[in-house]
Symmetry: C2
Subunit: 208 residues, 2 copies
C-alpha cells in the first residue's frame, strides 16, 4: 500500500521532521555530508491544506513527493463518479503518479490531502541530476520501489483471494493508526467496497 515503513515522526526537540527523509534514506544507503547537502538543495518544501489538490486527472505529475507530515491519497473517479483509492500515504512515505512522472503523460489520477500536509518535492530534472551526481540514489530508489512493488502485490493477492471482511480485518491490523486518522468512507474506497457495507460489517463485527 504505502511506499515506506512508518516511523516515529516526532521528537522532543521538534527537529525530527526535517530529518525524517534522511533517516529513511540512510536505512538503505550511507550519505556523506556533501551528498546530504546536495539532496536538500534539490528538495522543495511544500505545504498542502486539507482537501487541496497536488494533482488532478489530465495534469502531468511533475514531482515525487515525500510526506513529512499529514496524509495524502491518490485516487481515480470511475464512470459513475465513485472514487477509488489506489494509494494512501502518511509521514515517511512517497506518493506520486510514477507513470505520469516518468513518461510525461497526463495522469488518470487525483492526489489530494486528507489532512493538512507537509511535503518535500523533487522534480524529474533534479532527480536525474541526483542520480548522475550520486549514483547510490539509484540504489535507494530501486529498494524503495522493490518494497512498494511487494506491498502492491500483496494487495492484489488479497483483493483476489480475501472476502471484504478479511480485507477490512487485515487493514486495521496492518495500519491501525491510519484507520483512526481517516474517515471510514476512505477506508472503504481503498478496500474496494461501499461505505454502507463497511458500516454493516463493523456493526456485525462489534456484535460477535
Amino acid at each position: 500500500m504505502l511506499l515506506h515503513n512508518q516511523d516515529k515522526s516526532t521528537k522532543a526537540n521538534g527537529y525530527m521532521k526535517d530529518d525524517l527523509i534522511l533517516e529513511n534514506i540512510e536505512r538503505y544507503i550511507h550519505l556523506e555530508k556533501e551528498e546530504v547537502n546536495l539532496l536538500y538543495s534539490l528538495l522543495t518544501p511544500r505545504v498542502l491544506k486539507k482537501k487541496s489538490f497536488l494533482l488532478r486527472q489530465g495534469e502531468v505529475c511533475k514531482t515525487e513527493n515525500f510526506i513529512t507530515k499529514g496524509c495524502l491519497r491518490m485516487y481515480s473517479i470511475d464512470e459513475s463518479g465513485f472514487e477509488h483509492i489506489v494509494m494512501l500515504g502518511v509521514e515517511g512515505w512517497w506518493v506520486s503518479d510514477l507513470f505520469s512522472f516518468f513518461t510525461g503523460a497526463a495522469s488518470e489520477y487525483y492526489i489530494d490531502a486528507l489532512e493538512d500536509t507537509e511535503l518535500l518535492q523533487i522534480s524529474k530534472p533534479d532527480l536525474e541530476r541526483l542520480y548522475e551526481q550520486v549514483p547510490k540514489f539509484e540504489r535507494f530508489f530501486r529498494i524503495l520501489l522493490q518494497n512498494a512493488f511487494v506491498a502492491q502485490q500483496r494487495r492484489i493477492n488479497q483483493n483476489l483471494s480475501f472476502t471484504a471482511e478479511q480485507r477490512y480485518l487485515d487493514f486495521i491490523k496492518t495500519y491501525p493508526q491510519l484507520e483512526q486518522r481517516i474517515p471510514q468512507k476512505q477506508v472503504a474506497a481503498y478496500l474496494g467496497f461501499t461505505p454502507v457495507f463497511l458500516s454493516m460489517l463493523r456493526k456485525k463485527l462489534s456484535q460477535q
Copy 2:
C-alpha cells in the same frame, strides 16, 4: 501485470532467443562487451516442463527468472482451495517472488509453467555481485521495477473501478496474444472471477 514490454521473440536464424535479455536490458542502459560477458557468466539457463514448479508455497525464492521461451504464472491458493494469479509472464518478462527473494522469507506463492518454458536465472549473491561490479544494473532494475510498479497500480485501479466485463475486455485488448495461449480458467484466475462466469460473459459478448 508483467514485468516488461513484450517483444518479437523469435527471429529467422533462431539465435534471437539468446539475445532477448540483452535486447531488453539495452533499452535502458548501454553495456560494454566485458559487462555483457559478466552478465552471461552469472545467468544460469534452466528448462521447465509444462506444469512443473519453479517455486512452492513455503519455499524461499532463490532466483530472479527471465523468461526466454514459454509462460509462467505466480499464484496463491486460498482457504477454499481456489487459485488466484498474482502475476503472469511470457518471453521477455521477469517473474519471481521478490519479497521472498530479497528477505529470504518463505514464499506465500507458487510459480509453475503453463507451457514448456526456458529461463535465465540469477541468484541473489550473483545479483549483488553484478550491482557492485556494474552499478548501471541498479539503474536497469530500478527502471524495470518502475514499469512493473506502474503496471500493478493500473491493475489495482482496474480491480477497484471496473466491472468483471470491463476487466475482461481490457485484458484481451491489452494482452491479445496471451488470451490465445493460456486456458480460459487461468484468465479468470488472473482477473478475479470464476471460469463459469467467464464462460457466461463470453457467450453474452459474442451474441451482441
